[in-house]
Symmetry: C2
DNA sequence: TAGATTGTTAATCGATTAACAATC
DNA sequence: TAGATTGTTAATCGATTAACAATC
């Protein structure tokens, strides 16, 4: 049996139950976003060619990624949007609901809280924190803004928060990160420019639109 | 001479004047962001190990990327932050100033306009457009909000706008994209969830924080 | 049937990694 | 000198691409 798995792996194909490679997981996430949006637009099927146009990922790569997990497409037609969404969610094991705590109720925080993009992928903002006393007590979405020291650890535990999103000024980001680490949060999403220091078991994702722009510009200018 | 270049290329090293590979350009952009921030924090040198912690890119990969363009580091010490910023900007040919037009003066638009992240990398918001008549005429940063049909093509030409940033609702994104294409803008940065249709010479970058989150979550849950 | 698109192969290219001498 | 970190090699692994038979 181990021989068979070795053989499958040698062929470069993903194995059920195995951890996905970084690249495959990243690409599947991108397919999922396009599919989710295509579904909203009423699309029933989509081809690897179209997925490629929206993700800038090679169509052969897309077919290869997907065919590793099953025969999801129909030749001559493409992939059924609904069923492919379900399949990828199964593969990524993110079919459920995940709770987020948001820090910062300024423009960025309000933009995030009111964006559909998190909700579309099963993320729900269950708590918002801000240091500004004028903002504390106001409502964002249907969540009341709490003071920063308003029982963060308790909220994380009770609401099963798995992700902390930082939409605070750079100067405040490290302190909030420290509190999140202390409360046991393992994933931090950093929208500030601040470089964060965290223990190795915590993952920080820094969102950097300007970096993407530099990169796009290079190919435009060159 | 061509033989020498062939040999260098065969060794996998970048050649002066050649177009960078997608991967190298993307990674250099990320190094640049971390270096920019490290400089703000008063750091004078940084090691490949530290760059790796902030970018999640392998330290050997980082040294390899950089050594392809010159010997920028000091053994036992690391890289000088200031000079490495200058070197990478030279390599990416993005040392200059680039102008942006922003669409949408809501929470997201205001967050973008007031963020330091674009400014840090030489991008300047030179015009803001919005359909909302109440917002038209107000100031964001030091730019007055214009009506959406307020001479977009003229602004693009006169202010040398190279990038259009969409911070509008999904329903409005395609129309703005069409107008940008018509005005000759070749790079569109899309913060809405909308999948945009554009001609092949135009590049769309869709910023998708939720996608990054899905991806991070996969490794946390698995 | 004709056209389109998947699933898959095979060949190439670029990324990743460990290891270590060179050297600050 | 001792410790740290670069620059570079070599070996492996994963991504990319073209091509095309299978089949809807």
């Amino acid at each position: 049996m181990a021989d068979v798995i070795d053989e499958i792996e040698a062929a470069g194909l993903p194995v059920e139950g195995e951890r996905l490679s970084l690249g495959v997981a990243a690409r599947l996430s991108r397919y999922l976003q396009v599919l989710t949006q295509a579904r909203k637009m009423g699309r029933e099927t989509i081809s690897s060619q179209e997925l490629s146009e929206y993700t800038h990922i090679n169509p052969t790569q897309i077919r290869r990624d997907l065919s590793g997990f099953g025969k999801f497409g129909k030749r001559g037609v493409g992939y059924n949007v609904d069923s492919l969404v379900a399949e990828i969610r199964k593969i990524l094991r993110t079919a459920g609901q995940h709770n987020i705590a948001l820090f910062g109720a300024g423009h960025l925080g309000q933009a995030i809280a009111s964006s559909a993009i998190f909700a579309d992928h099963g993320f729900q903002v269950v708590a918002v924190f801000d240091v500004d006393e004028e903002k504390v007590g106001t409502e964002i979405g249907d969540v009341v803004v709490r003071p920063l020291d308003g029982g963060l650890a308790k909220v994380v535990a009770e609401e099963e928060v798995v992700v902390g999103v930082l939409a605070v000024p750079a100067a405040a980001a490290q302190e909030v990160a420290d509190r999140l680490v202390e409360a046991g949060v393992k994933i931090i999403f950093n929208y500030s420019e601040q470089l964060l220091q965290v223990p190795p078991e915590v993952t920080v994702h820094t969102s950097s639109p300007a970096v993407d722009l530099l990169y796009a510009l290079y190919f435009y200018l060159a």
